[in-house]
Symmetry: C2
Subunit: 333 residues, 2 copies
């Protein structure tokens, strides 16, 4: 079977993509060990280290956000597969320090299992590490327990906030508190319009009929429950932003960050049009969109669709989200 993808041996995808990425941005990132991406020139080991982890195939996430003011390291698994516990432990050992480590984990079964095992082993070795679990997908309904919500692209603005707090010299307790507060005030909803191909086996990640879309689809094609005929951009944006507002409890006078994260084939043109409507719904309710971002942050191969991420910003978060950062895919001057 021929795949319409620019690849070599499917078994080498992860290592080759990491090599290419770290060559392109060698001033900022490097491969420290196979599948662990770190900063090329870390400024200090006095600060809290921010480490995250996840499967490959979602580029530029997660490694695209390693850099000053964001992550200190990213532990990468194979395509759509969590890294193993030994690899996570290797990264935690690498960043063992008095200031401690915040390990950010997206709520997916494999990632949580590896992270929990690595945490146990790290604690036995006297490594000072706290774990934060993101679980902001609201597709299963607003009353779903947090443990049953997936972690989607909301991890990325959370890296920004946690990274900026750690860069300011805050303690692990302070960084974890600020990041957990952010975690509780953000929500994400995804929509898919066209499917994607698994780059190792050529199989379809999801299949959608020519006239249908699906709100709520997860980032590996997991069912989302919101299949419908194709809606207009404005109808889609409204249908997604309203439950996000409800979930985050954003009210008139609040500040929010609104992110449209493309999952692959959906154009910037479309994402701009979606942003416009979601922004206007927010502003019509008196909610101030004080920060915005449109682009591919966490993708699902060439899937057509996007994730809409809404983050309520309190005073701390509003400053931290605009603080300097220098990761290849998130630079703030």
């Amino acid at each position: 079977m021929i795949m319409k993808k620019f690849i070599n041996n499917p078994n080498d995808l992860t290592i080759e993509l990491l090599e290419g990425y770290t060559l392109a941005y060698k001033d900022v990132v490097k491969l420290e060990s196979k599948k662990i991406v770190v900063r090329t020139n870390p400024k200090s080991s006095d600060k809290v280290a921010i480490v995250s982890m996840g499967g490959a195939g979602h580029e530029p996430a997660i490694s695209g956000f390693v850099g000053e003011g964001m992550l200190d390291a990213s532990v990468v698994g194979d395509i759509f597969a969590a890294p193993g516990a030994p690899k996570v432990l290797e990264a935690l050992r690498m960043f063992k320090r008095d200031a401690g480590i915040l390990l950010v984990v997206l709520n997916h079964a494999g990632d949580v299992m590896s992270a929990n095992m690595a945490m146990q082993m790290a604690e036995r070795e006297g490594i000072n590490v706290k774990m934060l679990l993101t679980h902001e997908d609201i597709s299963a309904g607003l009353d779903t327990p947090e443990a049953d919500r997936r972690g989607l692209g909301g991890c990325i603005p959370l890296y920004k906030v946690a990274g900026a707090a750690s860069e300011q010299g805050k303690s692990l307790e302070e960084v974890a508190e600020i990041a957990e507060r952010f975690n509780g005030q953000m929500a994400t909803l995804a929509v898919a319009m066209t499917g994607a191909t698994h780059p190792q086996n050529g199989g379809a990640i999801s299949v959608l009929p020519d006239d249908e879309m699906e709100i709520g689809m997860g980032q590996h094609g997991e069912a989302g429950g919101g299949r419908s005929k194709i809606l207009s951009a404005d109808e889609t944006a409204e249908k997604m932003i309203l439950p996000l507002i409800t979930d985050t409890e954003a009210k008139s006078g609040d500040n929010v960050m609104l992110i449209i994260n493309g999952t692959g084939a959906t154009t910037h043109m479309e994402m701009n049009i979606i942003f416009r409507k979601a922004n206007n719904v927010l502003e019509s309710k008196g909610i101030n969109v004080s920060a915005g971002k449109i682009g591919e942050l966490l993708t699902v191969q060439e899937m057509g669709g996007f994730q809409m991420i809404l983050c309520k910003l309190d005073a701390d978060h509003k400053d931290l989200i605009k603080a300097p950062a220098n990761a290849p895919y998130w630079v703030t001057r």
Copy 2:
């Protein structure tokens, strides 16, 4: 016919996408007049203004690069259509100043016609403006006259160089000379793997059989002459970087910037793998890849494929490419 795109009325695409874009990045850009994007807070009118122009549908280009250290304004046409001469003249009037204006135009018939007309009218009005034409597509062969080469994504690093030079207070003559020198030392080659849909009429921009790709395809689906069976990433990268090296005359000891510009559906995973091989071919020849970039800069809707852009950097360009910039889609700290 139902298109698999998140849009509203196809006639409103351009204005809605510009509204969405300028709302998302309102700290940096604003719509000054319908379809002219300018900086929200220009620092000075003493500097040379850098203005560019082109059809919509290629987002984030061209308006994504308006900001400090890059463009002062972008004049936007309808989907895949050059803006009219009156609109270009309107922008030139807006930026009339003693320091002058550099108008960067990509070599496509419609853009050149509008630009030439606007230049004539502007000169009659005493506006101090120089025009620079990019023509770096090598798909028609290395011996093709410059007038027959299309302008592709190489305009974007050129905006960076020209914008940084103008920000440093250089004169119009100096900025134009530095930018023309850059223009003569860069080359681009595109490849397409899957087609795209025109978002206004739903027609196919290009059609490629399931087992074929095409090196050289233009950014509106123009034929490129390099159709073949699908090659591996490494074979594709090598087949593209070699003529780019020949065209730019990059030699051992030279510094270059290498950009992989995704045209739509092609994943960051694939672009990273392509970058790796092209980088390694360059380095094997002693050419120093001193700057890199991977991402969607100038797209062709959801077309699968990418443009490989190679820019030889002399000492001026090497500094200017790393100078501070703050456009929504190109930030340098």
